[in-house]
Amino acid sequence: MATNQFVVIHPLDDLPEQKADIESLGPMPMTTSVRVSLMSLRAYLVAMMLMVLYHVLGLAGRFR
């Protein structure tokens, strides 16, 4: 191709490129502290969801 000519290709028309191979990596290694933090976070979320549910049911008059 002559100089000063550029080819612009739409991503959907381009050839697929090699991405990070997630399957071969498997699950992420996590330290105990990270695992405990995530479990705490999960417990917090479950507690919050139950609290929101309780609050909303209360507003809906279910506990009268």
Binding site: M1, F6, P11, L12, D13, E17, M28, L41, V52, A60
Partner: protein, 442 residues
Amino acid sequence: MNNKILTMPAPGVETEVMPARGRVVKSKWTRDLLTFLMVLGPGLIVMVADNDAGAVSTYSQAGAQYGTHLLWVVLLLLPVTYFIQEMVVRLGIATGKGHAAMIYQRFGKWWGLFSLIDLELVNFLTLVTEFAAIDLALTKMGVDPRIGVPLVAAGLVLLVLSGSYRRWERTVVFLCLLDLVWFAIAFAVRPPLAQIVRGSVMPVMPAGGLTPDLIFLVIAIVGTTVAPWQLFFQQSCIADKRLRFADVKWARLDTFFGACITITVAGCMMLAGNASLAHGFKFTDPAQMAMDIGSFTNGFFRNAILLMMINAAVLGTTAISLSSAWAYGEVRGWPHSLQLPVKKAPGFYVVYLVSVAAAAGLVLIPRAPLQLIILSVQVLAGVMLPSAIIFLQLLLNDKELLGEYANKPWNNAVNWTIIIVLFALSLILAAQVAAPNLFPAS
């Protein structure tokens, strides 16, 4: 520009891969502009769709109650929303996978399932609020919602059925650009420029001081500007569009461009609310605000606000439903792409269809508890956001996965600051839900 189409052979690739087609241009400037326009989409859409029906309500309420005093909060959220979504850009381009797939594969099925349930629950409730807004706006425009809501829902389903990502993206980008009508609305009802600038850069306590209403409106503004579905949507969108490593800088620009538009439009919504406040109207909902503004401007602005409410809800609905469908497809291992026709990805399209139809149907049920659903959405989204960002933060520090695209120390410093602030706001919200009288009204 030379519009010659160049077709390049693709030696050594699988037979199902289409040969690369490109446009030949003669200057670097044109090349950069064209590349940006081709990459433009996921960032703009995720940001503008974030200004959904709930956002229209929250921003206009903020303007209607506090005038221009909270403009600075919105401006402060520009870097926050950009930094979070920029991480999604890197993750999506480096892996070519959606966010749900990443959590499933890197954290295991247990965490993947929890994240999926959280997402689908909040998404569905948010979709109900989108259709509730469409119902409200149609009613004010004199259209029977029993006809209008199903028609809008049918249009939203048709939007994705073409089997072409590009067709869907072009239509949605057009709808995003329609949001610029808010500039005209804000210009027509604007306060003096000095007041806007002061409100944008000088945090001043509004009259009445720090009340529970003010605290929760600020939390609602944060919650509506940064939402969990955005992480899932943009990453899946990037994967579906097959953005390449070379596109990272353009995808960042797309995201920044979208963030600037969404924040500016949010400011315009506040100015509309401010105008109704200045004329002595009490805010009830954005549709009523449109009627109030119409009473001192003209019918054009009334209808423009109502149509922009519907446009916001439509954008929110297509983006949120797609984030649900992509996430479900990724986790179940189903084909999940807008590039596929319905018969090749039936599960993906069924999830989209069910999301839209169920939310639209619920809104049409007489005496459905819409107000309770809207309340639940605001609280749940606020509570879930920090934990969703923590998964993102952990993934972005996965050097084994991302290599040079992993977070730098300064990224982590910024993102942990954002997470801590969001957690603090989430805890305040939690405290208010648990003990509504904790913050006494002044």
